[in-house]
Amino acid sequence: MTGNGHGLTLAEKILARASGLERVVPGQIIDGQVDLAMMHEQGAQTVGPFHQMGATKVWDPERVVIAIDHWVPASTEGAAILHRILRQFAAEQHLPHFYDVGRHGICHQILAEDGWVVPGDLAVGTDSHTNMLGAMGAVAAGIGPTEMAAVLALGRLWLKVPPTVQVRVRGTLGKGVTAKDLVLRVLGEIKTTGATYKSVEFSGPTIERLSMPERFTICNMTSEMGAKCGLIAPDATTKEYLRLIAKHPDHPLQADADAHYERVIEVDVDGMPPMVACPFSPDNVRPLPEVAREHIRVDQVFLGSCTNARIEDLREGAEVLRGHKVASGVRFIVSPASTKIYQQALEEGLIQLYTEAGAVFTNSSCSACFGGNMGILAPDEVCASSSNRNFPGRMGAKNARIYLLSPAATVASAIRGEVADHRELN
């Protein structure tokens, strides 16, 4: 068991650098220099406080990304107004990095695929899944719009240094078992409150073998653990991913060998089955084969969200789908995480495959993930989803039930018309 040394964890190293200090300790409140600030629609609420603060100029337009994603194209007048506020603000402040309709995508995916966050960064965004970018070996955290206004004005932010929980993973993921299943399993252990205000650091041989998209899925769901951030140390995989796309110089830091961890969780994935988070909490995790035996009928299936709608996820789903049809009575919504992924899916014939099987393949956006745009559930309906949250009311009606799954299992559920294990399909 590691964890009682005096060294610094990865998040502590990064926060020390961001605040110009030699070392920081958990609980300390620091003033950190921000490397990247991201806003989505909630950023429209940043504009008011920014002006009320008496600020006139954004601290560094090259470090600000605006990516609209929740309602794209605008599906209500309210959303259209939010978009217009952001467009006007970007024009006024000469912010060049605005991902408007046509170049759009889910904000976190935009940051990932265009290299906006690099190892060692302190990145903040107005969305709670900003944690996803911790997969770059950065501290990436969600903040509110008023604090974002302070960041835009000053380039700095007060932060409480979080204690770190280390999750050490070993073993080999079995056939059909994915990074999503791994993070669900960890979530089942840590629970939705287990890492509140903490940093979760994933390490170990299994993590080191994961691709960047898989690492994104894992760090994405540290938000569901309540974590301030979720990190994976940068290595050759990170470096290769960012080689041609990094937008600014990196500072690839590593945790000290004698870092102090508040808690160490050991996970062995050998023999682990696929997992599913049942209603009404992402930590209500059970082995999928067990839940599949209950034959839970679904009305809707959603393959999308920042957790699992990258091209690799769409391919994984396509492998399961080939030769099958969507069950009658099931609405299957597929929404790629970005315009680039949409184009890639088009090129690979995936859009044709999904739509011929009976799915609706939408433009890239958050889509059905949050119950405010499209794919909204009626009372008592059931949805199988590759997204990250299943709280009451998340996708519409308060009593609608959501099961969170890997992309492959999501697609299997669309084919069977019930929560299904993809390994059971012929």
């Binding site: 006139t56 903040i143 008023t146 604090e147 205000y197 309540g226 405010g372």
Partner: protein
């Protein structure tokens, strides 16, 4: 900022997420006055109608988990909630509340001391929350100086405004 806050209590359960405080369908509303009509619609349907300025919200663990929507504390503030006390808070909700100047107090064990309609008395400097009806109280660790200062000036907007105004020129450093 008054040191003592006293008010009528509304209670919430555990893991009340921001969706239950302001549902996803209202996220395009920015005006807090409009938002407050829908506050706690899912968790406490009668609240928006019956809440009075000065009321105190007392919740179990993990209050405000889920999406990082500032709409949630903004709506609570707009309807006049004087303080939120919970066994524990989700991170972003806690930050958002403090940054808006809305006292958020983490006091372990507080939820079980209260029933809806009780009167709570909070002493910020003393670190206590008392049920006036039963006389029972819980303590909470001192609020860090940095956060007390934020609450005292009325939130982050006021704080940054003072900082920017104090700069020799209006240009960012």
């Amino acid at each position: 900022m008054r040191d003592a806050i006293e008010g009528r209590v509304w209670t919430l359960g555990e893991d009340v997420d921001t969706d239950q405080i302001i549902s996803g369908k209202y996220l395009t509303i920015i005006d807090p006055e409009e938002l407050k009509k829908h506050v706690l619609e899912i968790a406490l349907p009668e609240f928006a109608e019956a809440a009075r300025p000065g009321d105190i919200l007392i919740a179990g663990i993990n209050l405000g988990c889920g999406s990082s929507r500032e709409h949630a504390p903004a709506a609570l503030k707009a309807i006049g909630v004087a303080a939120i006390v919970a066994d524990s808070f989700a991170r972003i909700f806690y930050r958002n509340s403090i940054n808006l100047g809305l006292p958020a107090i983490e006091a372990q064990g507080v939820r079980q001391l209260f029933e809806a309609g009780d009167t709570a008395r909070i002493s910020l400097s003393g670190g206590t929350v008392t049920n006036v009806r039963t006389g029972r109280s819980v303590t909470f660790p001192p609020i860090p100086a940095h956060l007390l200062e934020l609450l005292e000036v009325g939130g982050l907007v006021e704080k940054v405004r003072a900082e920017l105004a104090a700069r020799p020129s209006a240009a960012p450093a």
